[in-house]
C-alpha cells in the first residue's frame, strides 16, 4: 500500500514537472506567436487585442497557473492555427478528441501483434537445438531491427497495398463510418510498427531464457529428473519473463513514438500527424497538450509494468 502511495505521488510530481517544462519551454521560444498568426500586415492594435485575448500579456507564472487550472477542469485552450469558423477559435480538446482513437487503436494493435508473435517465437527460439533455424532467426530478427519504421511502412504499402492490393494506400476509413474497415486499414501500419519490435522482443526473450537455462536452479530441476520441456515451461519461463516485462514497457513507449512516424506514411489522421503539423506551424497550445498527454500515457504504462513485475517476482514484492 505504502508502495502505491509512493508511486502515485511520484507519478503526479513527474506530470507536474513535465507540464511546467513543456509550458516554460514554449514560453521562451523566440518568435512572436501573435505575429505568426496574423501575418506581418496586421495593425498593432489588432495584435494587442489578440495578445490580450490569448492571455499572452500576463506574467508567465500567472499564465501557467491559469493554464494548469484550465487543463484540470478539462479546458485545454484553443489552437493558434485552426479555427472553427471566422469568429470562433478551435478548442484543442475538439481537435484532439477526433484523432485520439486512431492512435490508440494503432498502438494497441501493434503491441498486440508484437506480444502475440514475439513471445512464442522467443521461447521456441531458445528451446530449439536446430542450428539452421537458430541462424535464420538470428538474421531475420537482426534485419527487422535495422529497418526504420517509415521504410517498413513504405515496404508494407508497396507489398500489401500496391502489389497484392490488400488495401488501398491513402484510403483511410474513419472509425465513425465503418469500424471493421477502420481496423482493416490499421492492420497494415500496425504490422509496420510491430515488425522491428517483434525482432527486439523475441531476441530479448531468447537471450533471457538462455541465461536462465544456465542457472543453478535449472541444474537442480534436472537433477530431480524433470524433462527439458517441463524445465522450460514450469521453471524457466516465469523467471525469463521478468526482464521481458520491463522491456515490453519500453517497447510500448516506443510504439507510441513509432506511430507518429507511421501515421505519416499511411496518411492516418492520428495525434502523431497533428503533432508534426502543430510543430511545423508552431501551434503551441496543441503541442503542449499533446506532450502532456503522451507523457501521461508513457507514465501509466511504466506504472502498470512496475505493478506487473511485482506480481511476477516474489523477491521484489516483499520490499
Amino acid at each position: 500500500m505504502k508502495y502505491f502511495i509512493k508511486k502515485i505521488v511520484t507519478l503526479i510530481i513527474t506530470l507536474l514537472l513535465v507540464s511546467i517544462l513543456a509550458f516554460l519551454a514554449f514560453q521562451i521560444i523566440p518568435g512572436d506567436v501573435v505575429h505568426s498568426i496574423l501575418g506581418t500586415e496586421a495593425t498593432p492594435e489588432r495584435e494587442e487585442a489578440l495578445r490580450e485575448e490569448l492571455g499572452l500579456d500576463r506574467p508567465p507564472v500567472e499564465r501557467y497557473l491559469n493554464w494548469g487550472k484550465d487543463v484540470l477542469r478539462g479546458d485545454f485552450g484553443v489552437s493558434y492555427r485552426y479555427s472553427k469558423n471566422m469568429n470562433e477559435m478551435m478548442p484543442v480538446k475538439e481537435l484532439i478528441g477526433d484523432k485520439l482513437p486512431v492512435t490508440l487503436w494503432l498502438a494497441l494493435l501493434s503491441v498486440g501483434i508484437t506480444v502475440l508473435i514475439a513471445i512464442p517465437l522467443g521461447v521456441l527460439w531458445a528451446g530449439t537445438k536446430n542450428k539452421f533455424l537458430d541462424g535464420v532467426l538470428n538474421v531475420l530478427t537482426q534485419t527487422s531491427m535495422a529497418i526504420p519504421a517509415f521504410f517498413l511502412g513504405i515496404l508494407v504499402t508497396y507489398l500489401f497495398g500496391i502489389a497484392f492490393k490488400m488495401f488501398r494506400p491513402g484510403a483511410y476509413v474513419s472509425y465513425k463510418t465503418d469500424f471493421g474497415g477502420f481496423i482493416h486499414y490499421l492492420i497494415f501500419p500496425a504490422i509496420a510498427i510491430a515488425i522491428p519490435k517483434i525482432g527486439m522482443t523475441a531476441r530479448f526473450l531468447r537471450n533471457s531464457t538462455l541465461t536462465e537455462l544456465t542457472s543453478d536452479y535449472v541444474r537442480t530441476a534436472r537433477s530431480k529428473g524433470a524433462s527439458e520441456k517441463r524445465i522450460l515451461f514450469k521453471h524457466v519461463l516465469r523467471n525469463a519473463m521478468l526482464p521481458v516485462v520491463t522491456f515490453l514497457g519500453m517497447i510500448i513507449a516506443e510504439v507510441v513514438a513509432g506511430s507518429i512516424v507511421v501515421e505519416q506514411v499511411f496518411a492516418l489522421p492520428g495525434i502523431g500527424r497533428l503533432l508534426i503539423s502543430s510543430i511545423s506551424t508552431r501551434d503551441f497550445p496543441v503541442v503542449e497538450i499533446l506532450i502532456l498527454y503522451i507523457t501521461f500515457v508513457v507514465i501509466i504504462v511504466y506504472f502498470i509494468v512496475d505493478v506487473l513485475y511485482r506480481v511476477l517476482d516474489p523477491r521484489i514484492r516483499e520490499k
Binding site: A146, I147, F151
Partner: protein, 275 residues
Amino acid sequence: MKVFNMSSAKGKKVNIYLIIGAVMTGIIVVMAIVGIFWTPYSTTAMSAKERFAAPSWQHLFGTDNFGRDIFSRVMKAVGTSALISVLVVAISAVAGIVLGAITGYFGGVVDAVVMRIVDAINGFPSILLALVIISLLGKGRQNVVLALAIAFTPSFVRIVRGEFIRLRDADYVVRARLMGVAKPRILFVHILPNIFSTFWVSVTIGLNNAILAESGLSYLGIGVQAPDATLGSLLSDAQASLASSPWYALAPGLTIVWTVLGVAMLSEGIGKLKK
C-alpha cells in the same frame, strides 16, 4: 584429434561478426567519404529525358522525378546522415562518460538530481523528445544534432553510471584509494579503461539509434532542410512515386538497412571480443 580444425588453428575462433560488420560499414564509410569529393553525376543535374529511369549501368539506382541520378544522391545523403549520427553519438557519449562517471562514483545529491532528469528523459521515446526540442529550436542541421544529442545522452549516462557503481567498490579501486591515488586519476585511469568493452557496444547501438532517429526526422520533414538531403528525406521524396518507380524508395531505404545491419554486426563482434 582436432588438428585440422580451421577455426581453432591458432586456438582462436574467427570473429565472423566483426569481419562482416567491418566490411559492411567500411563500404558505407568509403561511399560517404568519396561522396564528399566526387559523385558519378552532379546531384543537382536534372534531365527531362531521363525521369524515373529504372536501374541500369548508367544509373545504378535509376533516376528520380527530375531525372537526377539516385546513386549520386544516395552517396551525398549517406555522408550527411553519417556525419550527423557520428556527431550525435560523439557528443552524447562524451557527456555520458563525464556525467556517468561523476554520478556513479560519488553518488549523493548530484547523482539523485541527475538521475531523476535522466530517468524522466529516458522514459520518453527519443524521437519524440527530439521532435519537441526541434520545435523549440527550429529546424536545421545543427539543431538536429543538438536535439538528438540531448535525447541520446541519458542512455549513455545510465550505462556509464551503472558501470562506475559496479566498479567503485571493486577491490582494486579500494586499493587505489588506499594508496592515496587522486580521485580524477581513479575515475579516468583506474576505472574508465575497464568499462570500454561495455561502452563500445553501447556506442555502436547508439550509432544505430541515431541513424534511425535522424532518418525518421528528415522523413518527417523536420530534420535537415533542402537543399541538404539525408537518406530519410530521399525516402520521403520517393514515396510519392512509389507505384511507378519503387526502386527510388528502395535505394535510400536499403542503404539505411545495410548501414544499421553493418553496425549491429560490428557491435555483436565487439561484444564477442570481450569474452
